[in-house]
Symmetry: D2
Subunit: 398 residues, 4 copies
């Protein structure tokens, strides 16, 4: 059956040309991202176990993680975590296969701890977090559907994607990646809870960065401010590489020197002191929150990577959009992809895949239409490749 | 200081004219909505306590509720809840005022139970749910900011709103309201966990409704199917009143007669059997999920109604958009409002309020521009009115 | 097979004649007793469900309840519970019978709430407690044993009992019964958390009573002290009826007028403010803690009433001891009964039942020996009668 | 003031001469002992923190630990833990000292994990347990008393001790120590959950030992039985060194070869599969449960080691009893010590310390009475030495 793929030209200003744009990224240490990261790591660990023992990924959705912030008493030179962060894992997973039992909860809490240990070196897993699991079994009908008609959509759902990133989007994402990546060697004093807000007005991009310091590496306010200046400069130097717009950088604007208000933490993570988080409330699968773009509400992290159309279609929509931009070169200003499932239909045969293209002036849609259709068709045909990419951690979902 | 309100005309097809549209509403009994409802009821109960005892609403954000689905064994004629749904309240709230202590957790669990009791008559609060609270105190700097510079924005955030609803939007929302409202007298067999998905393709609106039955009111499959037919017809009869488009209605498409798969529940709520929910993953403040519209990721339910700009601006944006459409009559096809805050600025003086208008053909923007600006200005000036409306439960947030 | 019952005469001073005696009773509102009461009520509710649905009591032991004290702010005239008491139910119970599921957790939390509601009228179940259940399935071998060789002992265990009560024992028990019973009409200001310590030295019994007041019924310190005086007098008037010893009564000795330290509570229960409790740490099945008597460490409350020898033998030992005293009249000063089980043997055929008798001077043991043996034999033969008495709540276990 | 110490001679058969004797020891891996061990380790860790930071031990009682058994699927050659054991820490501790906060919960969960890691090498702390803390602040009046009148009794309580151990007592305790100590090198297949029941009838001591195997070290039933035989022999060889009585040894009597029922575990701990435990339900401070001896119900583990008379007096009573036996040589058959506190009195001045002595025939009480009194007086005078011994882990409390 031919896939229902619709390609249309639309005429409107691309996002980058509009007057105002807002883009946000919650860094990997933000409580919502911590929840996402754990949810996805649990799904990956379960998937690996299922594949190893049963040759295929069994039903699970571990997309419910609640991070309940602890209490901490940070101090220059090093303070204490007073009350551990409490992390509740829920969702559901196949825990019985015939007569065999799957160690779902043990796998879950272990992978959650491994994830935290691997990503947040200043967090003491033994003392700073308490992890609980109430992961249960799924609802009966969905599981029936899953088991008997494999690779069929589990829900009426949809995904949305776009390409290319605007400069603002690019810079917001790369700024966080830079601080939490390359810059850690130079500025280990900066923890992992980074939030980057990009606000573009006409040709000026304001980057507002909230960055948690790790207290033990900073001896006093003077050092704090000196690091802040260095961080500000480095962010600026990095950002200007990616745009012709003007850049302004603001770091930790909540600091109030006279009231001794600093963004200090013990662990580099604001969840240590009352900041809660949960899955699906932060970044979309693009790694960004883009209110000036169409977005899906889908919480992708932790969803099962075989038939969960919300997860698959959101990621695939972005892949298709990027591929179209890549292949069709300079003629395209912006592509928007939406894929809609229908419950019970094969995952690779969505109800409709709609592609909207904004071209450069005077480009003939008919020249690209078939190619674009073909790209989408091909990606849909190979949608099951995504599954392994999720399991191997090769696709970001937040 | 004059408010930074920008009104611009944009030229693009309004949502209702586009080829495809998807709109979803998770009914009040959907696990995500249950989480939202509890979160907001806790915030309202705390706000009332604060006002009564301290004359003003103290800092709190109870926007973290995790609903961990239980286990149930529904049967025609009446089954059992096997394991109660576990509901974790978190977030934070001011629990000490000078020497006095505020009974935050007692208020919280009581208001959660009251909410459930009031809305879901087939749920046995004593046996079917377990409610736990880990609500803590907020992070120190935000609370400092809150206490000392009242009515200033707590974050760099934004809100987005639009008007008018398309027919699809209108019908999706009203369908759920109808089933969970007026129709309860006629069809008490239908529980509160209703999900309505509207998918419009050109001039046809497909309404896919998932509706949990309450098992004790349905004696057998024959009655189940007869109710389903009646429900389908009533939804249709109700929907056609609101549109000239064609309507198709599909109810419980997951039912499989031969496999005895029905959407039966004991309590009218799918959370009884493994469906989890959390705050902010369901409906936006419009009561809808509208992926073809700009959306905010903000979880409004449970946020404090005084300075939480994410909550205030999302609701206000929609109020402004609706007021503009109402006042400027037939000239306007669609209005989109976005309000952006800046941390530390007064709530009524956003960084920018941007209003985009799509007019009917040949309408002169300059004729409306000042009126539109004035409407937005007035609503911003009276933003504090919203607070009481939230506390009194007069504004829906999901 | 003849039961292994050994009756011996021992020569030692009976407890009542010794120089010093200490006896304690934790009233029904003491946190340890609250845990016991809930544990037993859960077992009774499950037993009834099993009997109703399966004709017999299935395996369960719900003898694990942890009461984690809350926080309260009592005040003359009425204060607040600030943080609810958290109550964790654990243990295990048969939750699957063939293809059917037993609603173990729902039954458990409902019966826990019913128990609290029935016994503690000043506790608000919706606001003052949070009840959670982590009741699981039992360990496989014990359950196998249980299912296949019914009415056989589940463990190598023992029970111990004695009769008659000394005056101190009688008075300690009756004092609590009196305050928490008859006296509630006269002195509703006294809550249910009562602890009575009896310390006899030679011919003087010191009764030290700790009694939680319910704050809303007491308007000020003057009323507090006047009630205290009245309570002291009533306890005295009641106690002297049961003994020829001298009685001294001390109520709430921890009160310190000048520091405004009173034993005030909001709910009549000290668990409201940080006092924790758990099953099996309070009263023995006699309703008393009697360190000058042999005691079993067995936590009887919540144990299954069919084959749990620890529960059965402790209660039966006391029944036998009392029956012996009752039947053999004035010749006996004191009887001590110990019954030892052996895993796998029928419950009514213990490994050994040892009975030690202290006679009045010049009584001939041989005159009573056979009767005593017969009493024990008869009670053992009818041990299964105990099961229904437990289920119907006709035997106290704490 | 002279201490109220009363020394009396009593005439009755010592425990070792009675016909029947039952003695039990729950090994360190028994769920009740696990709870005790964690409770005490938390108290010790807090005490060390308090001493280091404030120069003295602040108020705490962490004597509430609930071990909720997990689920496991042991197999010869190595199975899996399916659901982690959930361990809830409660009790209370001083968490605020002036303006400073004490990291109570972080210390608590860390010390609990350290304890488990140090004692149970086959338990994977990351995957096999979930540790939660709900430790709160204490009740106000007790804390007031504590702070202002230091080293005064916190309660009307008592302790009881005896000496010497009978052969049965000695052997039961040493058997567990042997299996969980020296024998681990030879028989690593035996885990830490060991329960030893000693039942002496006249001159025969039956030792019934339940010993959890660690599945990965045992390849099949044949090896299981061969180890069982070896273990039985070694227990026998060890036990006969300590007595002239006959010894019979029974290991894992619940095994049923034909039904494939073995006592296999993954971790060496039965809590992995549904066995729950809590503080104070297992061994007394002697390390034994001795129903034929007077016992205290006090849960010593986790109690604060400064003023908690229940903890102090139980341990001290045994120390005094042993010292008396040691000093007064062969004249004494048995000593029983009971110390009774009075709330508000200095810890070293109990309300009464009563010492009962059973002498060998023809020994003159008056010859020993003063020495005995002097020993008790001296030990009471130095009771504060106990505190450091608890903190340093030099006194066993279970």
């Amino acid at each position: 059956m031919e896939r229902n793929i619709q390609v249309e030209q639309i005429k409107q200003s691309p996002t980058a040309s509009r007057e105002v744009e807002i883009v946000e990224r919650k860094g990997i240490g933000h409580p919502d991202s911590v929840a996402d990261g754990i949810a996805e790591s649990v799904s990956r660990a379960l998937s690996k176990y299922y594949i190893k023992n049963y040759g295929r990924i069994l039903h699970h959705n571990t997309d419910q993680v609640e991070v309940v912030g602890g209490q901490a008493d940070p101090k220059f030179g090093g303070g204490n975590v007073l009350e551990p962060t409490y992390i509740l894992l829920s969702g559901r997973a196949t825990s019985t296969v015939g007569d065999e039992r799957v160690p779902v909860k043990s796998i879950a809490i272990k992978s959650a701890k491994d994830y935290l240990r691997d990503h947040f070196p200043d967090l003491d897993i033994d003392a700073d977090v308490m992890i609980d699991s109430r992961i249960g079994n799924g609802s009966i009908d969905l599981r029936g559907l899953y088991d008997t008609r494999k690779f069929k959509a589990n829900d009426t759902s949809f995904g949305v994607g776009f390409a290319p990133f605007t400069d603002t989007e690019k810079i917001v994402k790369l700024t966080e990646n830079y601080i939490n990546g390359e810059l850690k060697k130079t500025l280990p004093q900066i923890g992992y809870d980074i939030k980057v807000m990009g606000f573009r007005k006409n040709k000026t991009i304001n980057l507002t960065v909230a960055a948690a310091y790790v207290d033990k590496y900073v001896k006093d306010p003077t050092e704090y401010y000196s690091i802040k200046e260095e961080l500000t400069n480095k962010i600026m130097d990095n950002a200007i590489k990616y745009t012709d717009n003007d850049i302004k950088v603001f770091v930790n604007t909540g600091d109030i020197k006279e009231d001794k208000v600093y963004y200090l933490t013990v662990t580099g993570l604001s969840m240590e002191n009352g900041d809660d988080g949960s899955v699906g409330r932060g970044n979309r699968v693009t790694g960004l929150i883009t209110p000036y773009r169409p977005m899906s509400m889908e919480a992708a992290a932790g969803k099962n990577p075989v038939t969960h159309v919300g997860k698959l279609y959101n990621v695939l929509s972005n892949i298709i959009a990027n591929k179209i931009v890549e292949e069709e070169g300079g003629d395209i200003k912006e592509v928007l992809v939406r894929i809609v499932s229908q419950i019970g239909r094969p995952v690779d045969e969505p109800h409709v895949a709609g592609i909207q293209v904004i071209y450069e002036d005077n480009v003939d849609h008919s020249k690209h239409k078939n190619n674009i259709r073909a790209i989408a068709d091909d990606k849909l045909a190979h949608i099951s490749d995504l599954t392994n990419m999720f399991v191997d951690g090769k696709v970001d979902v937040f």
